[in-house]
């Protein structure tokens, strides 16, 4: 099957007062139609910037290079108008902080309806009908009244539902969700995750789920890519990641997760040290500083992302030796 999105040697960098900061380096990844891919990493690992770059949504000082092929078109070569035909319609994004990601002075209804009038050429009436349908499926109560309200009159969870509805009205082929549950209370998080599960069952959209929470990935995704310092360090089917993590960073992440079967007073194994400074990344493996097994080669030579099996890739010298 042809992939819906292929990132090919994608680089994202920002020009700052203190020089160039490289947020994403040489990243390649494919997403096939209908699958759900989790992108996992700490904040600053470049997981959000990867997809903001792909959608042409970087801040003014950011640039993306490489190729971003969406259904046969390289998005990075398109002009604004051509890009606008795709984003919001065939490719949609849900943002982390729904509180600041909705326009505060526009009614919720208008913000939803404009997506359809822009992309599908619907009349306002027809668009409204479709919006009501989607909001219904998002389990938003009192929809009619809600449409005339402003974002600040919504709770955090309700705002996130609106964000999701906004991304879904055009039935996109690819849905990118950037930390959709991070800013929410635990109970609301569960509700939103259930929505995603239902979504996965009922739509044909491919979903990219960006998160720092491996727990979220476990319940939802088919495949996981782990990012560290702007690069993918490991990529595998979700079951394999949990059963047999290959990269030391992935192993570290898994050890950080609290488990019910552990003793209460058992300490969690935090990964020692800090992620590297993106302004001057080390020549070798970016994780070497924090890796207990790192050797001289790790410090001097950057490991390539190599195939371990047909579905698995990892970037680590130690795996080669073993």
């Amino acid at each position: 099957m042809n992939p819906v999105l292929t990132l090919d040697h994608l680089n994202v960098s920002f020009a700052t007062n203190n020089g160039e900061v490289s947020a994403v380096s040489d990243l390649s990844l494919s997403i096939t139609p209908g699958e759900c891919v989790g992108i996992v990493g700490e904040s600053g690992s470049g997981k959000s910037q990867t997809f903001l770059g792909a959608m042409g949504l970087l801040a003014n000082n950011g640039t993306a290079t490489g190729r971003v092929v969406f259904q046969g078109q390289d998005l990075l070569t398109l002009d604004r108008a051509a890009l606008n035909k795709i984003r919001g319609d065939r490719m949609a994004m849900i943002f982390q902080d729904a509180g600041t990601s909705l326009t505060p002075h526009m009614r919720i209804g208008d913000q939803l309806i404009e997506v359809l009038t822009t992309h599908k050429g619907h009349s306002r009436q027809a668009a409204r009908q479709r919006v009501l349908e989607v909001m219904e499926s998002m389990r938003i109560p009192e929809i009619e009244k809600r449409l005339t309200q402003y974002p600040h009159e919504f709770s955090g969870g309700m705002r996130q539902r609106v964000m999701i509805a906004m991304a879904l009205v055009c039935e996109p082929d690819l849905l990118i969700a950037d930390e959709p549950t991070t800013a929410l209370d635990v109970t609301v998080q569960a509700q939103i995750l259930n929505l995603f599960r239902a979504l996965k069952r009922h739509t044909k959209s491919a979903i990219v789920l960006i998160t720092h929470d491996l727990g979220v990935v476990a319940g939802l995704c088919d495949r996981v890519a782990v990012m560290y310092a702007g690069r993918i360090v490991e990529e595998a089917p979700v079951a394999d990641i949990f059963a047999a993590p290959k990269h030391p960073y992935t192993q570290g992440l898994l050890k950080c997760m609290p488990r019910l079967d552990q003793l209460l007073d058992a300490e969690l194994d935090a990964i020692p040290g800090q992620p590297p400074n993106l302004q001057n990344l080390p020549n070798g493996c970016a994780f070497a500083e924090r890796c207990v097994n790192a050797n001289t080669r790790c410090h001097n030579e950057r490991p390539a992302l190599r195939e371990l099996s047909s579905a698995r890739r990892a970037a680590c010298h130690l795996l080669e030796a073993a």
Partner: protein, 319 residues
Amino acid sequence: MLSFALKRLAIAAPTLFIIVSLSFFLMHTAPGGPFDAEANLEPQIIANLKAAYDLDKPLFQQYLIYLGKVAQGEFGPSIRYQDRSVTQLIATGLPVSLRIGLSAIFIAAMIGISLGITAALNQNKTTDYVVMGVAMTGIAVPSFVLAPLMTLIFGVILKLLPIATLEPGGSLARTFPAIAPLTPYILPIIALAIPQVAIISRLTRGAMIEVLRQNYIRTARAKGLAERRVVWRHALQAGLLPVVSYLGPAIAGIVTGAVVVETIFQLPGMGRFFVQGAINRDYPLVLGIVIIFATAVIAMNLIVDLLYGVLDPKVKAGD
């Protein structure tokens, strides 16, 4: 919305009262009186004059008398222009000042906002630098420098516009008789508007740049909306909030500017009466004008508050 408006009105009324009182006592604690200049007058005549203007009564009584009159829209007789009351003077001056003041603020807002948006959308490009350079010049070159220069260029050298009169004139009026009645006002309005254009365009630029960095603008772009719609529908309303709240101070700025501009162009407006009143210690005239101007500024602030409520749904819902 109505209760919000009433609440604002409830604050505006005492504000005006405090300003009237403050100005009154300030003017009347002054050492020396309005008749000091006429030192050769006999004491009896001065006493009579003071009685005529209630200046012989205790200060607090004068205050009460004054308040009573003001409540009826009566500001007492002018001391300098002895045959006319302050109310009459204001009635002749106010239309002139209103005409140039309101036109100036309207023009300044329109031009300033457009320039600010243009600069913001071209941040750190040539257009931005040019607009901001012009704006900086507008702030750095005060109206009392600009006005004489414009008079010299457009009035004296080019003879396009009439100067120092309210009569139409100049070649512009002869070429386009339709706009002839406007010609005497053009230079004063421009002189008054330019500093405000400069301030408003800088404000708009800053606010728009801030707004364009917001998350919801990213959302709007992610939705695939045309850049035009992103700017006009999603950004502008929030970007205008600081400009709207500046309109109150802007009116104050226009009023002070009017004092200078009316003096330079010798227009018989409120500002000129005010300066002459101040120089002549014509208390009733100065007080009357202060009250009118303060009312104008307070009224503008009230309008601004209401406008703010319309633009920002959170204000409408909240307090």
